[in-house]
Symmetry: C2
Subunit: 209 residues, 2 copies
Amino acid sequence: MEKEFASTLLENAVNEFAKLPGIGRKTALRLVLHLLRQEERVAVGFGEAIIKLRREIKYCNSCHNISEQEECPICANPARDHSIICVVENVKDVMSIENTAQHRGVYHVLGGLISPMDGVGPQDIEIDSLVKRVADGGVKEVILALSATMEGDTTNFYIYRKLAPTGVKVSVLARGVSVGNEIEYTDEITLGRSIQNRTLFSDSFNNSL
Amino acid sequence: MEKEFASTLLENAVNEFAKLPGIGRKTALRLVLHLLRQEERVAVGFGEAIIKLRREIKYCNSCHNISEQEECPICANPARDHSIICVVENVKDVMSIENTAQHRGVYHVLGGLISPMDGVGPQDIEIDSLVKRVADGGVKEVILALSATMEGDTTNFYIYRKLAPTGVKVSVLARGVSVGNEIEYTDEITLGRSIQNRTLFSDSFNNSL
């Protein structure tokens, strides 16, 4: 495989694409050759959008969501309930929850989960700034909306203990059978929790309105 | 889906990725967030590699392969047999054939196949320049190494007719059962052709040495 490409320019571009998660060398080559076939302004526009994004992106001073100003549009919106903070792992989760239109409060983006296996400790993510936000007052509830994984559970527990002295209400997303999933294919732990946390049928009926 | 992202910078970068073949909006977002998490020089290096490639890439004057000089390393190599031209659709096919180490001649990259469905005619690909190369003399054989598809067959036939007046030998890749494939799962047309074009067993034996 030595001297795979006729051009180091081509080789460099393929190497850059192949560094992205889930993109192998074959796909990288296919994408690069696609960009080469486009007009120059298309390929240059692609490269410039990435550079501009990385150089000019800002994060909200308050919730650490991606933003173009010091404060993100959600935090800056007076119609949002600033007394309810939804804690999420990353920017993508903000978008997912916004798409449900079920959360009228604000967010706090941790930027990761506690994961001793990956060397990520509580100091590496935005937990201290969350505790400070709550300690500053005006917050009634913190909703923990982290993944239902070992790392999510660890982070939930750590945050819960850190917030306990403030007396703020700490809630967590309901665990249960996913909508559309068959009981037969639902794992036992989820099924067990969904029995423990069963809700009134009339409530499920009202929620769906 | 209106106002999907908190930042137009983010939205632009996702849009650019989503234009690439086989990359949907979800994957595009995942890739962009990955680049955002990297150090600035990594993300900027990515963008610059693409821009540099598209701005500075050259194509070989003779065979239209990707090159850094006026003439690609294969055409410039005196050890290659310049009297045998292998005609391929694109740059990737040059790499595939080079990896077999079975072709000691040179190439001619068409840059596409004749496809009336996609509005690609003979004038849109490098057929005239191929005919000129052959007409200039010194070429003994043209090997057509195009895909075994309708478009490949159409292009083969068009090139064959264009080259007929020059009297050059025109050959085509053997069609047959792929190595490793079972007869049971080989389609009938391929199987039929492989019977018609059967080779001496002793030859197959010698070729594999």
